[in-house]
């Protein structure tokens, strides 16, 4: 039985294989890009705006307000990366309402890639904000003894990000698949609805955790004065 969409391969040539995860991810990317292009075709700043522009404004303002509440100053700078993270994970969960759609985030490859993006982006934004030396010095806060633990902590929270999203999405699809063989129609529908809810919560959590990690790396540090 397939626990991830990775195992369904469409085409293979040597070590390159085109499995369902890749196909669905690229279709989602295409769909999101085309939808974004169409929705932002004619943006207006006054007068009556189209409903798509209003919907996009709602989404962007909500994400920006969440980023500011977490403590990220200049939230607009991180909006493209974090907002896209949230939208991708949320849409890949909501898409399980479409029959035949297996969420790409139910494959460890996708979630590991997303967690890898967060892992790379935290030092990137930290160095961009504070400079290389001051960012590296944060690893030795509060004392230099904490240096190995801070480094291990970076890796372990990236791993936890990947595992959390993968575990939630994979278990949702697996439970529905198993229940279909036992009691068709009632319980699979209920479990799919529950899977939608937990998927949206997990999308929000992935996004908020990434924002918290970036905020921790870019928060302004007070200068030490002799009198404290």
């Amino acid at each position: 039985m397939n626990i991830t969409p990775d195992q369904h391969v469409f085409w293979r040539h040597g070590w390159v294989n085109l499995n369902e995860t890749i196909v669905i991810t690229w279709l989602m990317m295409l769909g999101m890009a085309i939808a974004a292009k169409l929705m932002t075709g004619r943006l207006r700043t006054e007068g009556s705006v189209s409903r798509w522009q209003a919907a996009l404004e709602i989404i962007v303002t909500m994400i920006t307000s969440q980023l500011e509440a977490v403590g990220l100053n200049h939230a607009r700078k991180y909006l493209p990366f974090l907002g896209t993270l949230f939208l991708f994970v949320a849409l890949s969960c909501l898409g399980s309402a479409i029959p035949g759609f297996h969420p790409p985030t139910s494959s460890l490859s996708t979630t590991a890639a997303l967690a890898g993006c967060v892992f790379v982006s935290v030092p990137l934004f930290g160095i961009q904000d504070q400079g290389l030396w001051r960012y590296l010095k944060t690893y030795s806060e509060p004392t230099i003894i904490m240096l190995p633990f801070n480094i291990i902590g970076e890796f372990s929270r990236t791993l936890a990000l990947a595992m959390r999203l993968f575990g939630n999405m994979m278990s949702g699809t697996l439970i529905v698949a198993i229940l279909i063989t036992i009691t068709p129609l009632l319980f699979p529908v209920v479990m799919t609805a529950l899977g939608l809810l937990t998927g949206m919560v997990q999308a929000y959590i992935f996004f908020i955790l990434a924002a918290v990690y970036i905020a921790a790396a870019t928060r302004p540090r007070t200068r030490d004065t002799p009198n404290g």
Binding site: M1, I3, V212
Partner: protein, 93 residues
């Protein structure tokens, strides 16, 4: 009992015990977190945005322990390397 039976028994038993023990700890931890969040919401309702967000982040952290146990169980049942080795040996004979 030969080797393959031992592998099957150990895998099935461990898969059940793993998820059982994993969910006990998670349930206790999350229950305590939510109880404290509710009591602090009752004390300071105007901070409900921060409290709710922090609660969700904390719940996700605790949940990831249960998810690790669940993944180990799923691997033992569906992607068990020892079992595939046994099956390959039995098929090769």
């Amino acid at each position: 009992m030969d080797n393959s039976t031992w592998i099957a028994v150990a895998s099935i038993f461990t898969a059940g015990i793993t998820i059982g023990i994993g969910s006990v700890g998670t349930g206790l931890g999350q229950g305590r977190a939510v109880a404290l969040a509710l009591s602090s919401l009752a004390q300071q309702p105007d901070a409900s945005g921060t409290i709710t967000r922090t609660l969700f982040v904390g719940l996700a952290m605790i949940e990831s322990l249960a998810i690790d146990c669940f993944c180990v169980s799923m691997i033992l049942i569906f992607a068990n390397p020892f079992w595939t080795h046994v099956i390959a040996q039995a098929a090769g004979k």
